[in-house]
């Protein structure tokens, strides 16, 4: 994890270039109709599912707790963002990022409020209490006037574009990755590994638990905002326990503690049900069998704790080529002597 070598600036440039390159590629695929309209629209749910999964991974994979109320934070962020854009009269591309950041902060605030009491518990107890809080949030939204109650919130406006989703996915990945590889991230990891030893090493464990939990909630809120402005309507029943479970399935399948795994798994599990539409009623059966299969044959998730790094991968390829050339060179020398 020590990314402190001379190649660091090169790696940052490489990553920035690949992020821009991937964006241009996606845009080109949409522009030239390689992806049809429906497939292009699928990029948006893939995007907010990536944000949801990566943010849940922060508290489930890196902090090592098991919260089951992620959909609750998503709904808080979604409603906050939607209510803001509905009351602002600005161009869509100005108010959307403001609303998303606002939604994120409101959700993070709820994360602190819920995290403080909930994080006194561990494991299955924490799962149950966060599940409870998630349901409480949903029921409160259901019974408030300004959220539209059971009718839901209508006429939010479709402001979410592939570009905005892409930008916020990149921000999420950057932030959580940068956080994990810092003294704060190490503190969070140490709590997962051994809370007593962490405290004895001078880590204020309560602070870091609440911090990780609320950052996780905040990004769920951002995803909620993207979701709200994608569907244009919000309905409290969409943020039930099942939604939290779906996100947890994505994270576990991708590998607890692997950001790369969450990204791959979020994309795969968003696309898979759509691809299986041809099988009609067997769709969910196949989906479940795939999940069971992965858990049996790779219980640590598809990627375990593996993290993809473009710099390392290219470095590996480079080293491989150099070895091969050297070997050939050595052979030539050998035959010459």
């Amino acid at each position: 994890m020590s990314g402190l070598n001379a190649k660091t600036p090169f790696r940052y440039a490489l990553n920035a270039a690949s992020v821009a390159g991937l964006y241009l590629l996606l845009m080109a695929l949409i522009r030239y109709r390689v992806l049809n309209r429906y497939q292009a629209l699928m990029l948006i749910p893939i995007g907010f599912n990536i944000i949801l999964a990566v943010s849940l991974n922060l508290s489930a994979g890196f902090l090592g707790q098991l919260p089951l109320g992620h959909a609750g934070f998503m709904s808080v962020g979604g409603y906050a963002a939607a209510l803001l854009t509905m009351n602002l009269n600005m161009p869509a591309n100005v108010e959307l990022p403001i609303a998303l950041v606002f939604g994120g902060f409101v959700a993070a605030g709820f994360g602190v409020l819920i995290g403080l009491p909930a994080l006194r518990l561990k494991g299955d107890y924490l799962a149950i209490i966060t599940l409870g809080f998630g349901e409480i949030i949903r029921v409160i939204i259901l019974n408030l006037d300004f959220t539209g109650g059971a009718y839901g919130l209508k006429g939010i406006g479709r402001k979410t574009t592939v570009t905005w989703v892409y930008i916020f996915v990149v921000i999420t990945l950057w932030t959580i990755n940068a956080l994990i590889r810092s003294r704060h991230g190490r503190a969070i990891l140490s709590i997962r590994e051994d809370e007593i030893a962490a405290e004895a090493s001078g880590i204020p464990t309560t602070y870091y638990k609440v911090l990780a939990f609320s950052i996780s909630a905040g990004f769920a809120g951002v995803a909620g905002g993207l979701y709200a402005h994608y569907l244009s309507i919000l309905d409290p029943s969409a943020f039930g326990f099942m939604r939290s479970c779906e996100i947890l399935v994505i994270v576990v399948l991708g590998g607890l503690g692997s950001i790369f795994g969450s990204v791959v798994s979020a994309a795969a599990l968003t696309v898979l049900p759509e691809m299986l539409r041809g099988f009609a009623e067997y769709r969910m059966v196949i989906y479940s069998l795939l999940l069971i299969g992965v858990m049996i044959f790779k219980p640590s998730g598809l990627c375990g704790k593996y993290e993809f790094s473009l710099g390392n991968t290219l470095g590996g390829i480079q080293a491989g080529i150099r070895r091969r050339i050297l070997k050939r060179g050595g052979g030539v020398n050998g035959s010459g002597s």
Binding site: M1, S2, A178, S182, R183, G185, A200, G202
Partner: protein, 257 residues
Amino acid sequence: MAPVLDVSNLGIRFGGLQALDDFNIQVAGREIVGLIGPNGAGKTTVFNLLTNVYHPSGGGIKLTGLDTRGKPTHQVTRHGIARTFQNIRLFKSLSVIDNVKIALHNSMNYSVLAACLRLFSYWKQEKAAEKTALELLSMFDMEGSAEAPAGSLPYGAQRRLEIVRALATNPKVLLLDEPAAGMNPSETAELMRTIHDVRDKFGVSIILIEHDMSLVMGICERILVLNYGLIIAQGTPDEIRNNPLVIEAYLGSRKEA
């Protein structure tokens, strides 16, 4: 010279059990004190009280004059009491160097924002931490396995890493809970040299709990004997070796037999 650690009348009750009573100890700078006693005598309880894992029902702890009463464990560590654990508690799936860097947490002060935005303070302090961690590891001949997961180290090296991690918090007092547990005689002899080195190089005071008498007698300048939560004897290794109360606590008295 004022003692580094001054503990007076420390006691704790668990329900009806007085696990520790009237515990007094003054530890001078660079002193090595042994804490021995039969199983269940309250030795680890002393460590848990000193680090505020348990809160005492009576008495006080002063660390270089500072009252640590009511402070959370991580603050006590910050003020200068570090410990190792009887059953090794490393961050097993993290690398060796990350184990040390976690303990260096409080030697850095860049904010969450500075970390996420990769500001200058992040690079500067991370570089310094990396250097300190490698220096510490190389003092214990462990720099070669810096990137290996801590859980993959051999047993003796794991014990050493626990000591390195404790030292990384820059302590004044180091508490070692059965550092020689599970070691063979040659490993124990090496550990003895290590403990001496640690005291000399880092200038810390050390309190150690140990059942291995060769280690305790060979290294400690002063020994306290606990039995049923009470100090039954204290003195130099020679005095303890010949103290009838200590022999009775360990072996039972002649009359009962």
